[in-house]
């Protein structure tokens, strides 16, 4: 059975219009190394054969690697209630909640999600979610340009490098500029950031814990930004908020982050969701959907999409952003996760992460030649300096069944020996001890 719906005649006609003589010629501009090696797929399998194959693959040695990798996406425990409730058909079938008369369940869930994000981040208004953490940071940057009418943001280079790339990409087409400020060691260079704020600065973008795992307080930075009518954007890791000061407490104007750690599986990179929350006075500049609570003509409580005049289907090219959707199901998982844990459980989860990471820090830094780079507080991630190339060490440890961390050399030239190690609540003492034994073995025997 062919999977390509185009007949040879269709293909010939299309090539003729384009002016290419063959499909090969059409794809010629793509470098050979990046092109598919072959489309010669094996013949189809029966369901039974396929199940057997997948079971074999699931049981292979690569599938039970113990992950100590974070860097923005984290391996957290997901209570069974999350999968169960989020899989209910009522949520799956209600795609776009335009019509309050037939989508009260979805709308109420998103309203509760927004309330939860506000409580976590210490902010006053949240939208119904964005695509992921990176686009959330970029949307926050765009929001600051709209609010201030300025064209420059200061971007702390200890913000996740992938997120910075997205910010630069988004600003590129808007004749706006992101000025990166290098960190000092593992921490934001607060003095340089503060000295760099001027009356052309729309916002300062920072992250805590940052990509080295360092936790920082940005209260002073917030004050300095506000003196210049600039905004402070804080990207945060929601699980850490169970323990550290929220962006709202630090005086941030916009809080963003990746919501994956709230009840979403790693799933080889997505889908996840991003969150964005702000002060009430900036609510009209929030991108995307917002659900509001209201009453109907009989005085009953109900939920509707609100402040829609900001959006594309009404304001066209003058809309606040081109986001006209959200990540409902992933955001719903985030909500159920938070509800299942409760405020106390959330705090306990954060404490577990911190404690286990502190233990790992102690064990790993007792290995000869392994040093801790972070000088201040960390949460569940920290940066080690190894005696040799971290990427090589990680590769050797992978062969032994452990993903030891994220090597930073690819993102920070000169930091080839730096390794970011992440320890979530899922890592046991035995796993941490094993990592230490294997690391010592790889380094010294």
């Amino acid at each position: 059975m062919g999977y390509c719906p185009n007949t040879p005649d269709d293909i010939r006609q299309m090539l003729e219009v384009i002016g290419a003589s063959s499909v090969e010629e059409l794809f010629a501009p793509i470098p050979a190394g990046l092109r598919a090696k072959s489309f010669d797929l094996p013949p189809g399998m029966s369901e039974l054969e396929l199940m057997r194959l997948m079971r074999e693959k699931a049981a292979s040695s690569g599938a039970d690697i113990t992950p100590f990798i974070g860097g923005g996406i984290y391996d957290h425990f997901i209570p069974a209630a999350v999968d169960h409730l989020a899989s209910r058909a009522e949520f799956y079938t209600a795609y776009t909640p335009y019509q309050p008369e037939c989508s009260q369940g979805t709308l109420q869930a998103l309203y509760e999600y927004q309330s939860t994000i506000c409580r976590l981040t210490g902010m006053e208004a949240s939208n119904a979610s964005l695509y992921d953490g990176g686009t959330a940071v970029a949307e926050a940057a765009l929001m600051s340009l709209r609010i201030t009418g300025r064209h420059k943001v200061l971007l702390d280079a200890s913000v996740n490098p992938l997120h910075r790339e997205i910010v630069n990409e988004y600003l590129h087409g808007l004749s706006a500029q992101a000025v990166e400020v290098a960190p000092q060691g593992c921490a934001s260079d607060l003095k340089r950031l503060m000295d760099s704020i001027d009356d052309q600065t729309a916002a300062v973008i920072v992250q805590t814990p940052n990509c080295f795992g360092s936790v920082q307080d940005f209260r002073e930075l917030a004050n300095k930004a506000h003196e210049h009518d600039a905004l402070l954007i804080v990207s945060c890791y929601p699980i850490a908020l169970g323990l550290v000061a929220s962006p709202g407490e630090m005086g941030a104007d916009i809080a963003v982050g990746d919501g994956q750690s709230l009840g979403n599986h790693l799933s080889f990179g997505g889908p996840y969701f991003g969150f964005i929350a702000t002060r009430k006075r900036f609510i009209r500049n929030l991108p995307g959907r917002i659900v509001g609570e209201t009453i109907d003509h009989q005085g009953r409580r109900g939920y509707v999409l609100t402040l829609q005049a900001r959006e594309q289907h009404i304001k066209r090219h003058k809309a606040t952003s081109n986001i006209c959707s959200n990540q409902s199901l992933c955001a719903l998982r985030g909500l159920i996760f938070c509800a299942a844990l409760g405020q106390k459980g959330f705090g306990e989860l954060a404490a577990l992460n911190y404690d286990k990471a502190q233990y790992a820090k102690t064990v790993l830094t007792s290995i000869k030649g392994v040093e801790l780079l972070n000088s201040g507080a960390t949460f569940n991630e920290f940066t080690l300096i190894l005696p040799r190339d971290a990427a090589e060490v990680v590769q050797q440890l992978l062969d032994k069944g452990v993903a030891a961390g994220l090597p930073l050399g690819g993102y920070y030239p000169g930091m080839e020996r730096a390794l970011v190690v992440t320890v979530t609540e899922k890592r046991t003492k035995e796993e941490i001890d094993r990592l230490a034994v294997l690391l010592e073995e790889v380094l010294w025997s």
């Binding site: 009418g149 009209r284 005049a309 900001r310 009404i314 304001k315 003058k318």
Partner: protein, 123 residues
Amino acid sequence: MTKFFTKEHEWVEVVGEQATVGISEHAAHELGDITYVELPKIGKSVKQFDTLAAIESVKAASDIYAPLSGKVAEVNDALDEAPELVNQGAEAQGWICKLEGVDSAELSALMNAAAYAEYLKGL
């Protein structure tokens, strides 16, 4: 004092070099309940017929254009808390902003009240 009107339904009233700007009673009626007025920033310079501000109602979001060239000297802050003032008196307490440094020669491109009333009949 005399009001002049644009084809886009703004009004302007000039006193010396300062002009008060708003949207017409007709525009306010057509828009329905006004929910938000995006006021311009003080100090913003505009040319005649440039986008000056924006207004949202339960039905639509529309731009407000500058009836004259000038610089925003004052905005009607009361609209932040009470956008319904535009519905209550679009040509009075519902004014949007004041422009300074205007040139009354530009008024020749606008309509007086009688001409605007005539213009509305033709819509």
